[in-house]
Structures are given as structure tokens and as C-alpha cells.
């Protein structure tokens, strides 16, 4: 087969599966629906593997598939850019998606919306692939919004639950705020570069570096800074960066498989991918890089804090995802794009693993998600236990595990950066190591070790995922093989995907021309490369560094608080009154947004409608002029009284007046 046909097969195979499962779900039945979508994603994964090899052999591709529209001298195309950055993303997306598809067979087994769910996740895979394979900003935006749509549909999958349909609308709206910035960024590029094609824009970018625009009179700003910040606002929405992070924790209302696929491994990393893809633009604006780094640092640290006090197993992992996305964003700001993508990849494996593991726990617990009701599950769910332990170890950056290589590289890169704000960022990512280790192992100990608390908890639980109605509240049980096999298959790269790849991906020029770094201005990665002496040495030397001991301290603290002195957490909670209240309130963002934005818009809309449309325009102008006509008519009616002497009198007066005038 022609390799170009293969490019087309990658997104089209999942799309075909989605269409078939979506339109003919009743006809083909449950088995048919999962077979056809899994087949589609499997084909996409295998094709991605072939393309990966082809790209490694040096064959990149950049070309159009069809012209979307033309206008004036602008031509907008749908096309593919297949380079090393693309293929990494393609492999991650199709692999995790395949695992999630298989897992879903078990997880959604009893759900009446089975076919619909498979159709959605296959559609998501298509959208995400179109996003990463794009060679232009238009298609990027297409994929960008399409993954947002599927995310919306999936968060609200259980659409009879008020919390789910609140969360999905919120997710869509917050993302739209980000997309608003993103769209303006794209429009600015079109207006100044005259093209939306990556290659043309990137080639022109250095010439545009000196341009300024005055958005406010008398304040010229660098054009590229404005563009990059606007584009990054899009990334803040999609990748849930502060202050547009508010939608991600609520998105946990969706079924767990999509929390793994969409809200951990792939969609939320679209913003990271986008900035890495735009490296030729961001490299030209130190201001925007600083902005990126600071936003990422805030997200990494402060969202981690929130993870420490959550009791819903999925929400703990959700805040962990926010924090880890912050790490990736910080890396982007430090011009360590390759480290960001590297962490994106390892994170996709271990975070998908953690979410799917959490889903397995939830199934084992008969759809109870509160970690306070768990404990001692190790005995009942050995495979889930082991794989989740692996995932947690990878997440906290245990030397040797995949997460260690990517995360430590980010910390080092930030320390080597000299941009404004890098000091704060370095502090934030380092401190977050402790936080990450603490909440990860707090979860781990509470779920898998200690006393079995589920016996007495089952009496009152009612907020399970699907409102479990079977009512068999037996002991927890290990999940079926369709669930555990994906866990194992994800555990393998969670351990292994670090050490063989760090050297080529970060220092070996793996990404080639796909990522551009201005090494003179931003030498962080180059400096790291000079100090890098192989993955083994890196793991070994890490034992003497601060992050490692912070991680150890985090695990130890968690162990002490939740295994040894179990009374302490309650006491700390009481003592830390205000701090706990602030964290419990999630810094008040949700309340503020509900009050100010949602409430404010409704209030303003109501006032405009009542005072503007109803009172002023209709009341005064429209009905008012109708009344005026009526009144004039009523008055003028008296002139036509029908009495001859009235008319005669008027004539006499008239004649008199005329006579006075002329005589």
C-alpha cells in the first residue's frame, strides 16, 4: 500500500468504526459495536507503527488532502504533516485508545448506552488524530474543537445525572473561553502571515519577530508575543491550566475509561502538543515563554495541593493530572519542548494506567468511589494493586521508572532556564515532587492497605458511578481480563518507556526539525545535554538530589499519616481550619465563576432584554409610535365632527386670518 494511503487510513479507520457503531448500533448489537470500533482503532495503531518506522527511515510528509475553501488569495486546506513529533503522538493516541477500547468492554458491560459509548470514543480517536496530524492551523482548530465536542458528549454520557450535565456544559464553556483566544491567535496569524499553513508561517516567523501591533493606542506590543499568548490561552483551556483548569476535576463525572483516555492521556495534552508544534513561534518571544512557564508553575504546585485533600479516587488522580500538565507546561516555557513531549508520553501511559486502575477499583467496590470506604484491597484485587503501584511509582518519579526520566528532565531544564519567572517555576516544580508523592501514596495506602473499611461503608453509599442497582454488596473482587489485560499492557511502558528513549528523544535530536529551539537564547536543553551521561548514571545520581528525597519524604509522610498515626489527619484538618477550608473550596474559583461569569451574564442579559428590547425599543419606539398615531388620530378626529356649523366656523376664522394677513 502506498504510504500516503496509510496516512489516510489512520484517522479514517476509527471514524468508520464510530459511524458504524453510532448509526447502526441497534443493528450490529453490542458485540458488533465493540468489534468494529476496536478493529478501527487497531488498524490505526498498526498503521501508525508502520508510519513510525517509515518516518524513522527519514520519510516525512507535508501535503494537502483537499482544499477546504478558497477566498480572495487565501486557500485553506486539509492536510497532513507527518514528522517525528506527529508519529510519537499518533502512537500514544492509538495505543492508549486501543487499551481503553478493550477495557471498556468490561467497564461498560451493563450500560444501556454501550454502542453509543464506543461510537464516541472512536470518534474521539479520529478527532485527536486529525488534530495531531494536521499541517495547518485550520485543521488544528477543527480537531481542537472536535475533541472538545466528544469530551462534552462523554462527560455528559450519563445524561440523567444533574452533576454530569452540569460538568459537561461547564467543560465546554471553559474550553470555549480558551478557544476564543486560540481563534484570535489563528486569525492574527492569517492577517499578518497571509497563510495558515505551518510551514509557511514558520518560515516567515523570523522576519515577523520585530513587528509590533498597537492593540491599545500608544502601546505597541510584539506581534509574536500577542499571537503566542493568544494561542496559549487556547492551550490553557484544553490542557486545563490555571485559571481555566476548573473544568477538569468536574469532568470526572464521565465514565472512567474516558477519564483515562481523554482527561489524562490524550486530549488534555493537546495544548502541550500544540505549543511544542509552534516552537518556531514561541522561541521568538521570551515574554510569552515566561508567561507559559509561570502559568504552568502555578498549575503544577497549587493544583497538586488540592489533590492532597480529595476523597474521591478519581478526583485525586484528576488533580494529579492537572499538576502533571503544569509540569509539561513549565517545560514548554523553559524551551524544553522535547522534555514536555517526553513527559506527555510517559504520563499518558502511567496516568491512563492509574485511571483505568481506579476504574477497576471502582468496579471491585461496586461503584463506590470514596477512598475512605476502601482499604486492604490488595488482597482482593492483586493485579489492580500491582499495576497501580507501578503507576504510582512512575508518577512520583522513582528512579528507573519512565516518569522519573521525564519529570527529572523537566526539573533540571527549569533550573537551567534564565527566563523571567524561572526561579519561581523551579521552586514550584521541585516542591510539587513532595506533594505528588504525598497524594499518590495517600491514595495508594488508603485503597490497598490498612483496615478493610468497605464492610461498614456499604450501608450508606449511594453516589456510585452508575447508581449501582443490583445491590450485591459482597467483598471487592478482581476485574475481568478485558480490564486487567489493558492494565498490564499499560504497566509495561509505565516502567520501561523512560530509559531507552530519554537519550534519543531529549539529546539525540530525535525530533529533528519538528521542534525548533533557539539554542543561543534558550540554552537549557543544550546545557542538560552536556551533563547527561546515560540513563543509568542519571538514575544513580538522582539519589543524591533534592527531588528524590522530597519524593521519599512524601511517601513517608503519607505512610506515617495513613498507616501509623491514623488519627493525625483529622487533627491536622481541625488545626488547619482556614487552610483546609480554602483547599476544600478549591481556592473559590468555582464559586467566583458561577457568581461572576454565569450569574453576571444572566443578569446582564436579563437587564438588556427588559430595559433595552422590551421597555425602550418595543415600549417606547414601536408601541409608543403606534400609540402616538392613535392619539393624533383621536385628537384630529374632533376636526371632523360632521356638524356643518363647525366647518362654517372654521372657514370664517380662516377667511378672517387670510384677510388679516394680506390686507
Amino acid at each position: 500500500m502506498d504510504i500516503k494511503t496509510l496516512y489516510l487510513v489512520v484517522p479514517m479507520a476509527p471514524l468508520a468504526g464510530a459511524v458504524v457503531a453510532g448509526l447502526f448500533g441497534k443493528l450490529i448489537g453490542r458485540t458488533g459495536a465493540h468489534l468494529v470500533t476496536i478493529l478501527g482503532v487497531l488498524v490505526a495503531f498498526l498503521a501508525s507503527l508502520l508510519i513510525f518506522q517509515d518516518v524513522l527511515a527519514g520519510h516525512t510528509f507535508n501535503g494537502a488532502i483537499y482544499t477546504w475553501l478558497t477566498s480572495g488569495n487565501l486557500s485553506l486546506e486539509i492536510g497532513f504533516l507527518i514528522d517525528r513529533l506527529t508519529v510519537v503522538m499518533m502512537l500514544v493516541v492509538t495505543f492508549v485508545s486501543l487499551m481503553v477500547h478493550i477495557y471498556t468492554i468490561g467497564y461498560m458491560a451493563d450500560d444501556p448506552g454501550y454502542q453509543r459509548f464506543f461510537s464516541y470514543i472512536a470518534l474521539f480517536t479520529f478527532s485527536m488524530l486529525m488534530l495531531v496530524m494536521s499541517n495547518n492551523f485550520l485543521q488544528l482548530f477543527f480537531g481542537w474543537e472536535a475533541v472538545g465536542l466528544v469530551s462534552y458528549l462523554l462527560i455528559g454520557f450519563w445524561f440523567t445525572r444533574e452533576s454530569a450535565i452540569y460538568a459537561n456544559l461547564k467543560a465546554f464553556m471553559v474550553n470555549r473561553v480558551g478557544d476564543f483566544g486560540f481563534l484570535l491567535g489563528i486569525a492574527l496569524i492569517m492577517a499578518w502571515f497571509g497563510s495558515l499553513d505551518y510551514q509557511q508561517v514558520f518560515q516567515m516567523a523570523p522576519q515577523m519577530a520585530g513587528h509590533t501591533i498597537s492593540l491599545i493606542d500608544g502601546h505597541p506590543w510584539s506581534l509574536l508575543t500577542v499571537i503566542c499568548v493568544l494561542l496559549f490561552i487556547g492551550a490553557m483551556g484544553k490542557s486545563a491550566q490555571f485559571p481555566l483548569h476548573v473544568w477538569l476535576p468536574d469532568s470526572m463525572e464521565g465514565p472512567t475509561p474516558i477519564s483515562a483516555l481523554i482527561h489524562a492521556a490524550t486530549m488534555v495534552t493537546a495544548g502541550i502538543f500544540m505549543v511544542a508544534r509552534m516552537s518556531p513561534l514561541f522561541e521568538l518571544s521570551d515574554t510569552s515563554l515566561s508567561f507559559v512557564m509561570i502559568i504552568g508553575a502555578i498549575t503544577a504546585l497549587f493544583m497538586g495541593f488540592l489533590g492532597m485533600i480529595q476523597n474521591d479516587i478519581k478526583r485525586v488522580i484528576a488533580y494529579s493530572t492537572l499538576s502533571q500538565l503544569g509540569y509539561m507546561t513549565v517545560a514548554l516555557g523553559a524551551s524544553a519542548y522535547s522534555a514536555a513531549i517526553f513527559h506527555l508520553m510517559t504520563h499518558a501511559f502511567f496516568k491512563a494506567l492509574l485511571f483505568l486502575g481506579a476504574g477497576s477499583v471502582i468496579m471491585g467496590m461496586h461503584h463506590d468511589q470514596d477512598i475512605r470506604n476502601m482499604g486492604g484491597l490488595k488482597k482482593y484485587m492483586p493485579i489492580t494493586w500491582l499495576t497501580m503501584l507501578i503507576g504510582s511509582l512512575a508518577l512520583i518519579g522513582t528512579p528507573g521508572f519512565s516518569g522519573f526520566y521525564s519529570k527529572d528532565s523537566i526539573i533540571e531544564a527549569v533550573q537551567a532556564s534564565h527566563l523571567w519567572g524561572s526561579g519561581f517555576a523551579a521552586f514550584a516544580v521541585t516542591a510539587s515532587v513532595f506533594v505528588t508523592a504525598f497524594y499518590s501514596f495517600r491514595l495508594y495506602f488508603l485503597v490497598f492497605h490498612g483496615k478493610e473499611r468497605f464492610h461498614n461503608a456499604h450501608a450508606e453509599h449511594d453516589h456510585g458511578e452508575e447508581g449501582d442497582s443490583q445491590g450485591h454488596h459482597g467483598a471487592p473482587h478482581e476485574s475481568p481480563w478485558v480490564v486487567t489485560v489493558p492494565l498490564v499492557l499499560l504497566a509495561i511502558p509505565s516502567i520501561y518507556a523512560g530509559w531507552p528513549y530519554i537519550e534519543p528523544m531529549l539529546y539525540g535530536g530525535f525530533f529533528g526539525s519538528a521542534i525548533y529551539i533557539d539554542a543561543l537564547a534558550h540554552p537549557a536543553m543544550a546545557e542538560l545535554g552536556a551533563e547527561f551521561h546515560g540513563p543509568a548514571a542519571m538514575a544513580l545520581s538522582a539519589l543524591t538530589t533534592l527531588p528524590f528525597w522530597l519524593a521519599v519524604a512524601g511517601v513517608a509522610t503519607a505512610y506515617y499519616l495513613y498507616m501509623v498515626r491514623k488519627d493525625l489527619p483529622e487533627k491536622i484538618k481541625e488545626k488547619a481550619g482556614i487552610v483546609y477550608a480554602i483547599l476544600d473550596d478549591k481556592y473559590g474559583f468555582d464559586r467566583f465563576n458561577d457568581w461572576f461569569f454565569a450569574g453576571g451574564a444572566r443578569l446582564l442579559g436579563g437587564k438588556l432584554w427588559r430595559w433595552g428590547d422590551v421597555a425602550a425599543i418595543d415600549g417606547v419606539l414601536v408601541n409608543g409610535s403606534a400609540r402616538l398615531v392613535g392619539q393624533i388620530a383621536r385628537i384630529s378626529r374632533y376636526l371632523q365632527s360632521g356638524y356643518i356649523y363647525h366647518y362654517a366656523f372654521a372657514m370664517i376664522i380662516g377667511v378672517a386670518l387670510l384677510a388679516t394677513w394680506f390686507v
Partner: protein
């Protein structure tokens, strides 16, 4: 001059004759099914005769095509002069297509005076085709005014409880707007040396004062139809009271006539005034996007909400036109076509629910997806298209207009871009309250999903929405030559001292 009857004449007269036949053959409502079938045949024929306009269209020229000319009132040099270019042709197709859908949509709902209803729809369709095909000013004017009558009757006879107020408001609002246009046309007749040819008027030199006055007159005629803020308040009332079919035609076609008038009359006849008053038109358009977007958010009546959403979306059209670049004008035109599909579909969706529950209040619904899953899926597609989701037609026009605006002014583009947020907010919030959630009451519990006829209507619109969203090139190709020609024309001053 062409021999015989041309295609454009067919698109006008086939629906009108079909309408008259339905009336004549109709009798009373006992014969309703025969009248419906006859009306459907007429509508489909009307669509079929319009198809050669698309297949036979030469996209490489801005010249008028499918031209027909017969003397009508020779003493005043008034001609029955028809012809289309890349700007008007798509709307004849859109209108003919919509006519088929509204005939189908009224199939069961309209149970009284069936023949009259169907006839009004068909005759209206023919007259509207006349508006888009007319090249003679008087012919345009006659059709422009005549198209009000069927719609006035449709609202006034088959409408809701407050239909008389709405119908009169609609009629007087739009009539007042266009009466002055007649004066303007007579003025143009004299300054052009005795011609009612629109294309001749394009070339007439005018003083600034004359241009400004003409601009104001045309503005009132067309802005009321679009409708632009602040002459928009007739639309929500008309929509709320109109039967579903009336709302669909109103949203899909009638509003487009106003915008079309801006392109056919205002821009080319008074280009200098148009440039001079760009600030006004852009300002009003942006108010439509922001102000109306916020007003739409708080509507409790679904039809009112979509009516306000229509005004906001038409704000993009007028904004695009007054950017004076190809992206803006073509974006505006695509937005018009897309809005025809999307707003039409949304009114049909509301009609589907109204037929079953007899309420348009959002509060009377909740959890419709539980009982009408197929309907919910289609409704979701149209809601997303209304929110401007890429891949649907709703995105194409908005995207082009935002790009076009950015070329002119950052803040115009930014303000217009707010629709990304507002559009999603009012549409999806409504969708959430109506379709998602638990079954809210026994009305919703008793709903039956859409039948084959309803599915056919909505699915054909869905295909259109997706096709335009994924591959808009064929439509922009049709427009290029005419739009570029128009822009070139508008760029040259025709000021005379």
C-alpha cells in the same frame, strides 16, 4: 433575450402555479391528504427545476447568467428582467429546498385550511425566488413587498394565541421599512435617465448627499428584514406566534432577503456612503453579536431564544459585508446559507416537541433524550452547528468573518469572536435543560420519538449542515467571481460633485 420560458421563470412560476392549483383543487379540509400530496409535488418540482441553476452555472464569470427579459410596463421602462450571479443563485436553491421541507413539516400539524396553508407556502416560495432573480428594480420591489403577504397570512391564520399582534407588528415594521425604498427607486429612475435596471443603477454617479440619503433609505428597508439591532423586535414576536413552517421560512429565507439587498443595492449603488458609514454598520453588527447574545441567554421560550440567536448570527453577515474584503463578504454569504439550514432545523426541532407537548417553554421540558433518543442526537448536531462547531456549516461563515475582521481591526474580530462563548452558552444551556436530565414530567415521559417523515426532514438538513462544514469549497467557488467583481466595483468611488 431568450426564447421560451427560462429556468428562472420556472423557479418562480412552478411553485406559484402549484399553489394556485392546490387552492383551486382544494375545497375543504376533508380532502386534506390530496392537497398535501399535490403541494409536495409542486414543491419538489420547484426544487427540480432549480437544480440546473447549480449544474449549469459558470463559476468563472461574474456576469449575469440565465438571463430573461420581457417588457412589463413599457411606458415606464419596467421589465420582467431576471438573472442570477454567484451571489443570488445559491439562495434560489436554498429557498426551493426549504419549501419542500416546510411542506413536509406541515404535513400533520396543519389540520385546518390545509389547502390555503400549502398554497401560501408555495406562492411565497415563488415570490421569494422572484426577489433573488429580479434585475429590474420595480420587479424586485413588487416581489419584496408581495412576499410579506403570504407570511402575514401564515402567522395571522395558523399562528399562536397572540398572532394578530405579531402579524401586524411584522407587517407594519417591514412595510414601513420598505415604503421609502420605492421613493429611492423612483429617484434612481430619474438620475439614471429613465431606467429601472439595477445593473444600470450600479453605474450611476451620485453626490455624497444623495448617497447618504439613499443609504439611510436602503438601510431601513433591509435592516428591518435582516434584522439588525435596534429594528429587530418584530422577529421574536413573529417567530413565537408563527407556526413551525412559518418560522422556518422566516429564519431560513426571509431574513436573507434583507442581507441580500445590502449586497445588491446598498454596497454597489452607494459605495462611498457605505464606506463612510462602515462604523455604524459594524457597530450595529457587533451589538447584535454581544447584546443579542446576552439577551438570548435569558429567554425562557425556545423559539424566542432561537429568534434572538438568529439576530446574533445575522450580525455576522452584516459585519462581514462591511469589511470590504473577500473573506468577509463570502463568509457573510456562507453564514446566510448555513443559518438557513441551522436555524431552520432548530425551529423544526422545536416544532417536533411543540407538536407533542404544546409548549415552547424550556421549563416544561427536561430529559427529552430519555424518550426521544434519535431526535436528541439530531438536535445535538444542530445545537452544535448553532454554536459554530467546526465540521458543521455554522463554523465556516463565522470563521471567515472573524478572519476577515482581523485583517481590518483586532477589536472587531475580538468582539465578534465572543460568539464562540455566547453562542455555545445560550444554545447548549437550552439543550441541557430541555434534552438532558431525568424525565421531568409526564408529558416528557409520554413522548414518542420522531417518525419517518420527521426524520427525513431533519436528516436531510443534517446532511447539508455537515456537507457545508466539511467541504464548503463548491459554494465559495460559485461566489468568487461575483464577490471579487463586487469588491472591485465598490472600491471605486462613484462620487460626483
Amino acid at each position: 433575450m431568450l426564447e421560451g420560458i427560462g429556468i428562472l421563470s420556472l423557479t418562480i412560476w412552478v411553485p406559484i402555479v402549484a399553489g394556485l392549483l392546490v387552492l383551486a383543487a382544494g375545497g375543504d379540509d376533508r380532502n386534506a391528504s390530496g392537497q398535501r400530496t399535490l403541494a409536495l409535488i409542486g414543491a419538489v418540482l420547484g426544487l427540480l427545476v432549480a437544480i440546473p441553476l447549480w449544474t449549469g452555472f459558470n463559476v468563472s464569470t461574474p456576469a449575469i447568467q440565465f438571463e430573461e427579459a420581457l417588457p412589463w410596463v413599457p411606458s415606464f421602462n419596467i421589465w420582467y428582467h431576471l438573472g442570477v450571479d454567484g451571489i443570488s443563485m445559491p439562495f434560489i436553491l436554498l429557498n426551493s429546498f426549504t419549501t419542500v421541507l416546510v411542506v413536509l413539516a406541515g404535513w400533520k400539524v396543519i389540520q385546518t385550511k390545509v389547502a390555503q396553508y400549502m398554497a401560501a407556502m408555495l406562492i411565497q416560495s415563488g415570490i421569494i425566488n422572484g426577489v433573488f432573480a429580479a434585475l429590474d428594480g420595480m420587479l424586485f420591489y413588487v416581489c419584496f413587498e408581495a412576499m410579506l403577504i403570504p407570511l402575514y397570512l401564515i402567522i395571522g391564520i395558523w399562528g399562536g394565541p397572540n398572532r394578530i399582534y405579531a402579524a401586524i407588528k411584522f407587517f407594519i415594521y417591514t412595510l414601513l421599512g420598505s415604503l421609502l425604498m420605492l421613493v429611492a427607486m423612483i429617484y434612481l429612475f430619474f438620475v439614471s435617465g429613465g431606467s429601472f435596471e439595477i445593473m444600470v443603477w450600479h453605474k450611476v454617479g451620485l453626490t455624497m448627499m444623495a448617497q447618504l440619503l439613499l443609504f439611510v433609505v436602503f438601510f431601513f428597508a433591509f435592516a428591518v428584514k435582516v434584522p439588525m439591532w435596534p429594528v429587530h423586535t418584530w422577529l421574536p414576536d413573529a417567530h413565537v406566534e408563527a407556526p413551525t413552517g412559518g418560522s422556518v421560512v422566516l429564519a431560513a429565507i426571509t431574513l436573507k432577503v434583507g442581507a441580500y439587498g445590502l449586497l445588491r443595492f446598498t454596497l454597489p449603488i452607494v459605495p462611498d456612503a457605505a464606506h463612510e458609514l462602515t462604523w455604524l454598520m459594524v457597530g450595529l453588527s457587533l451589538i447584535a453579536v454581544v447584546y443579542i447574545g446576552l439577551v438570548a441567554l435569558v429567554q425562557a421560550d425556545m423559539k424566542k431564544l432561537i429568534a434572538y440567536s438568529s439576530i446574533a448570527h445575522m450580525g455576522f453577515v452584516t459585519l462581514g459585508f462591511f469589511l470590504f474584503n473577500p473573506l468577509g463578504i463570502e463568509g457573510g454569504l456562507i453564514q446566510m446559507i448555513s443559518h438557513g439550514f441551522v436555524a431552520g432545523a432548530l425551529f423544526l426541532c422545536i416544532g417536533v416537541m411543540y407538536d407533542r407537548v404544546h409548549s415552547r417553554q424550556i421549563a416544561d421540558y427536561g430529559g427529552v433524550a430519555n424518550t426521544m433518543p434519535r431526535f436528541a442526537a439530531l438536535f445535538m448536531l444542530f445545537a452544535m452547528a448553532n454554536s459554530g462547531l467546526p465540521g458543521t456549516s455554522g463554523f465556516v461563515g463565522e470563521f471567515m468573518v472573524v478572519l476577515g475582521a482581523m485583517k481590518v481591526n483586532f477589536w472587531w474580530a475580538a468582539t465578534a469572536g465572543l460568539t464562540l462563548i455566547f453562542g455555545a452558552a445560550y444554545t447548549l444551556w437550552m439543550y441541557k435543560r430541555v434534552v438532558y436530565g431525568k424525565v421531568a414530567n409526564e408529558h416528557v415521559a409520554g413522548l414518542t420519538d420522531i417518525d419517518g417523515r420527521e426524520f427525513l426532514v431533519l436528516a436531510s438538513l443534517a446532511i447539508g449542515v455537515l456537507a457545508i462544514g466539511v467541504y464548503p469549497l463548491p459554494i465559495t467557488d460559485v461566489m468568487h467571481a461575483s464577490v471579487n467583481n463586487l469588491l472591485e466595483h465598490v472600491a471605486h468611488s462613484k462620487l460626483i460633485p
